[in-house]
């Protein structure tokens, strides 16, 4: 999650539907309308890194010279973020129905990281609960796949001691690769790590025989 984290940058590049609450001159290029002002209530998609600051900007203390002007009126943020497509009711329902067969990667390749950010800003407890449950459910499957993949590669090494397993392997490989396509980046990381460690522990046990 550091400054140089590539995944974090990609997460922040996710687009969020936003609504401007004030008229702002000169920002028309944000909605492909360069040179024109942006009107209040204009709706457009903005990347997270831009939107979340602009939505929070009324919390920033204004400098002295503008204090006097803004005293009488309530500070209004420049824009308002609405729930991104990734966390829409439709997706939440899909998660609740069957977390395991969900194609998370096509929803958002950085689903979890965005969810963490989103929950942190708006403290949406429901979403946090749903998402952590989702990860819990899916991690069991991920673990299973990581384990079976590592045993299969072992079988190649110790030449076909169980030939019936080697026969069914192409099917398994196919199934697991299509399963892997549905993982989001965080899950992929979990998969890779557990796969590695299963492989390493197998090798260690094998060596000590």
């Amino acid at each position: 999650m550091g400054y140089y984290d590539i995944d974090d940058m990609l997460t922040e590049g996710s687009e969020i539907p936003c609504k401007f609450l004030q008229d702002i001159p000169g920002l028309g290029y944000l909605e492909n309308n360069p040179g024109k002002p942006i009107k209040a209530n204009a709706k457009l998609m903005l990347p997270y890194w831009l939107a979340h600051i602009l939505a929070a900007i009324d919390n920033i203390p204004l400098s002295e010279d503008s204090m006097t002007v803004d005293d009488e009126e309530e500070p209004v943020p420049f824009l308002e973020m609405s729930t991104p497509e990734s966390f829409s009711q439709r997706v939440i329902n899909a998660i609740k129905t069957d977390p395991k067969s969900l194609d998370l990667h096509s929803i958002n390749p950085h689903f979890y990281e965005l969810a963490i950010k989103w929950c942190a800003i708006y403290s949406v407890k429901d979403l946090a609960k749903v998402v952590s449950e989702l990860l819990l459910q899916r991690s069991q499957d991920i673990n299973n796949f990581a384990y079976s993949m590592s045993t299969q590669t072992k079988n190649i090494d110790s030449i076909g001691t169980m030939s019936n397993i080697t026969e069914s392997k192409p099917n398994n490989l196919l199934a697991s690769s299509s399963f892997l396509m549905t993982l989001d980046e965080l899950e992929k990381y979990v998969y890779r790590t557990s796969h590695e460690s299963y492989k390493n522990s197998k090798r260690w046990m094998y060596q000590n025989k």
Partner: protein, 211 residues
């Protein structure tokens, strides 16, 4: 819309990262995307000009005493500033990934002359500055190893040896080497049974291959 180019750069960085996590044999660096970086830098210059313009306008307005919607003015300012920051972060992230990879390349090559022969073809993927960086970094490693830590082979293999003596095959002619057990004449395709610690270096440099 600003920063779309920067996004492209980060996506590319991600792909590089993925490729390298997959083949754990050796770090390979793709070509530095000069063109994209230059375009982003141009965008940064443009953004900077915008910011200066906004600042001037604000100054003029405050001089006139007509502080009309300075808040709204700030929004433009902010959007530009954020784009600037985003571009900066993406550029730095891209470069950091590359420099990290260069670091590991230097370590893999045992702090030897990384600019040497077997990396020649990869060097064309580096920019001039990166080559310079790699050279300096390798020098640092060499310095550190020849300093107080001479007794420890910092860049040695991390897997403990199984046997003291190993069979090796010669991949490249390397002339004669002297060991405790006599002189070996390393001619291509010949085989020897030697003490591992004697030939470790030669294996790392690619002269010998363990059988």
């Amino acid at each position: 819309m600003y920063c779309e180019l920067a996004n492209k750069l980060v996506v590319e960085a991600k792909r590089t990262e993925q490729l390298n996590s997959r083949n754990n044999a050796r770090t390979t660096l793709p070509v530095h995307n000069d063109e994209l970086v230059r375009d982003i830098l141009n965008e940064v210059t443009q953004l900077k000009k915008n910011l200066e313009f906004f600042k001037e306008q604000q100054d003029i307005m405050s001089m006139d005493g007509a502080s009309v919607d300075s808040n709204v003015m700030k929004c433009q300012y902010f959007v530009n500033l954020l784009c600037l920051e985003r571009n900066k972060r993406c550029l730095l992230g891209y470069q950091k990934l590359r420099s990290d990879m260069l670091d590991s390349m230097a370590w893999e090559n045992n702090g030897m002359d990384v600019m040497g022969s077997d990396l020649g073809e990869e060097n064309s993927n580096l920019t001039h500055q990166e080559q310079e960086y790699l050279k300096k970094y390798s020098e640092l490693i060499t310095d550190m190893k020849s300093g107080e830590l001479t007794d420890i082979d910092l860049s040695g293999s991390l897997t403990p040896p199984r046997e003291i003596f190993i069979d090796v095959r010669v991949l490249k002619d390397a002339g004669e080497i002297q060991t405790e057990y006599g002189v070996f004449n390393l001619i291509k395709d010949s085989q020897f049974f030697v003490r591992q610690s004697d030939v470790e270096r030669l294996i790392q440099q690619g002269f010998l291959q363990k059988i």
